[in-house]
């Protein structure tokens, strides 16, 4: 069975649900707000077992955890729950407890979980930690210059200094950022920074490329129109392989990656987002992604598969490298 956790308006979830039903799959959809009303979780916490004991009781139907083939978890953490009627303190307590339970549960299940949550939030800046930066470099990508700031004046000044062209992303956001240009950049920076600090990155000269990854496969590579590219730039054959390696090492099974391929050859990595945008994704690519997601979430897998918490073939993986958060020595 595929289990979907998503708001009713989530376009990816809507299409995945429809495709799973169309292909005769067993699929259920639970809205995050109703998580505590709809599901009774019963999970004995054991590690490394081939058969997972426990069950989910959804609307009176008992589903053994072992029957889950995949979970499409479009949840934000801490969970947003409908806790009307509870006092502020009680609501906060229930939110923390439910968040802690579901975070552990989604990380413990051996079936594919797209994408597994991380305690404290998934790192969103690739240059945001020495360890992540090393991972990106290990896969052969470069970083453009960037600036992180909570000051609107500073962001605007930097945007102008880069010739009014930049990639903007709110700090802590798992969604893709946006490319800013002179006609709307100032306005967008002001709007986003009303409530958020941001990272802005310089956009190197070259071909913008968006790569969509599902599971262990590049589903689509989209060349974006760029005003400053007058001649066709050959796509390096290594891009897909390097991109897959990076996405896998980041512990992601569904990702949207933004690259700039320069005429000289080096490739800059601007972003790897764990919540690919739907509306900016070309219409002809959307069905390919959805089909691949359904395939990926449908197959029975063993504990030793790539996205198991134990890593590829049961070995500690780069997921653990990300856990290795001790400070590097200078």
């Amino acid at each position: 069975m595929i289990l979907i956790f998503a708001d009713s308006t989530d376009p990816w979830a809507t299409l995945v649900h429809r495709e799973a039903q169309r292909t005769g799959g067993d699929v259920m959809w639970v809205e995050p707000l109703r998580l505590l009303d709809k599901i009774l979780l019963n999970w004995p916490v054991v590690a490394g077992e081939a058969v997972i004991p426990g069950s989910l009781d959804i609307d009176g139907r008992t589903i053994p955890l072992n029957d889950l083939t995949g979970m499409f978890a479009r949840l934000s953490f801490p969970l947003r729950l409908d806790l009307e009627g509870l006092s502020g303190a009680d609501a906060q307590y229930v939110t923390k407890e439910a968040t802690a339970a579901w975070l552990a549960f989604l990380n413990a299940m051996p079936c594919p979980v797209v994408n597994r949550p991380m305690p404290g939030g998934r790192p969103t800046l690739l240059s945001g930690s020495p360890l992540l930066a090393m991972l990106v470099r290990d896969h052969g990508f470069l970083f453009p210059a960037s600036r992180c700031t909570s000051s609107q004046a500073d962001a605007l000044q930097q945007f102008r200094a880069w010739g009014e062209s930049a990639y903007l992303k709110p700090l802590g956001s798992i969604e893709p950022g946006q490319f800013l240009y002179s006609h709307d950049g100032v306005e967008q920076i002001r709007r986003v920074m009303e409530q958020q600090a941001v990272s802005i990155q310089a956009i190197p000269h070259g071909q913008r490329v968006t790569v969509y990854v599902v599971g262990e496969e590049v589903v689509a590579t989209v060349l974006q129109p760029s005003e400053d590219v007058t001649q066709r730039i050959e796509m390096p054959s290594v891009l897909s392989k390097r991109c897959l390696g990076l996405v896998g090492d980041l512990g992601l099974t569904f990702a949207e990656c933004q690259f700039i391929v320069t005429p000289e050859g080096p490739i800059y990595c601007l972003d790897v987002s764990s919540a690919p945008g739907f509306w900016c994704c070309p219409q002809e690519v959307q069905p390919q992604i959805v089909c691949r997601l359904v395939e990926y979430l449908s197959k029975m897998r063993s504990l030793s598969r790539h996205d198991s918490p134990n890593g590829p073939d049961g070995r500690p993986s780069a997921r653990e490298r990300l856990c290795e958060t001790r400070s590097p020595q200078r």
Partner: protein, 292 residues
């Protein structure tokens, strides 16, 4: 300074004539901001925190205390907490403790699965919202079961008793964590970099932290751990990415060691004040040395 742990660390750093900068955005008003740049994926040398411009090369280490310990309710508060976490994460210096490591105990079952990889026993555990399953677990454990919070929310560990059964219906609205009761002696192990301080706690209460409140006894004393156990504790802290940790162990009568939790921002003064162990000094030394 209201936080005794922070006060302890600041005092020990002051005693070492350390150049100390306290970052406390709330006290600096709405104009407080933070800015840093990166070049080729590494932080550039000049950065701004509040109204101060400082050099990255002047920062040897960072100690984070109570950052985001409560859910930020207003957008500006959320923005500051997020920016500070990202900033600390970006620093190529010792950070006690980094974000992901700090958050492993926001979910005890999440952390428990990590702990089990480091050679410690972990108690049989059930997370459930089904009263019948809770009763079955109680029976399976011959009635020796405790309940406690799943999250890092502080809760008093209590034994589950038959008279609690009518209240079990409430778990249909919020999951509960049940664990088999492990008999034995409590040990709190503080690791500070490569150093280790072990405290043995004797108490007749289910949760020694609240012994006085429950009219129970509690005594604590510094003890020396066997070398193999020391190594396991240090490996656990290092594996979780923690330069400072408080590991909760229980030694059973047959000599097995169970690990319940690793506190990622331990309130070590409670133990230091009782036993005289120099945990704050060790932390100050670590911060001055600037490496984990």
């Amino acid at each position: 300074m209201a936080d005794p742990v922070l006060a302890n660390v600041c005092a020990r750093l002051a005693a070492r004539n350390a150049d100390l900068m306290l970052v406390h955005p709330e006290s600096e008003g709405d104009s407080w901001d933070i800015t840093w740049s990166t070049e080729r994926g590494a932080m550039a040398d000049r950065l701004r925190i509040g109204n101060r411009t400082i050099l990255l090369s002047d920062i040897d280490s960072v100690y984070l205390r109570s950052l985001g310990s409560h859910v930020a309710s207003i957008p500006r508060e959320r923005m500051i907490v997020t920016a500070l976490w990202e900033f600390a994460e970006s620093l190529p210096v010792l950070v006690v403790n980094r974000r992901q490591a700090s958050h492993t105990n926001m979910s005890k079952p999440y952390q428990q699965r990590l702990i089990a990889q480091y050679g410690f026993q972990v108690p049989k555990t059930l997370i459930t919202m089904v009263p019948e399953e809770a009763r079955r677990f109680y029976d399976d454990c011959q009635g020796r079961v405790i309940y406690k919070s799943i999250s890092a929310e502080r809760s008093i560990v209590k034994p589950l008793r038959l008279e609690d059964f009518p209240r079990l219906e409430q778990i249909r609205y919020c999951p509960v964590q049940l664990q088999e009761t492990i008999p034995g002696t409590d040990l709190r192990i503080h690791t500070v970099g490569g150093r280790l301080f072990a405290t043995e706690v004797l108490s007749d209460g289910a949760d020694y932290r609240y012994a006085e409140r429950e009219n129970k006894q509690r005594t604590m004393r510094a003890v020396e751990l066997e070398p193999g156990l020391q190594t396991r504790c240090l490996n656990l802290a290092k594996g979780l990415g923690l330069s400072l940790s408080g590991i909760d162990l229980r030694r059973t009568p047959d000599g097995a060691y169970y690990c319940f939790e690793v506190n990622t921002s331990p309130g070590f003064t409670f133990f230091e004040n009782y036993t005289g162990q120099r945990i704050g000094d060790a932390l100050a030394d670590l911060l001055c040395a600037g490496r984990a």
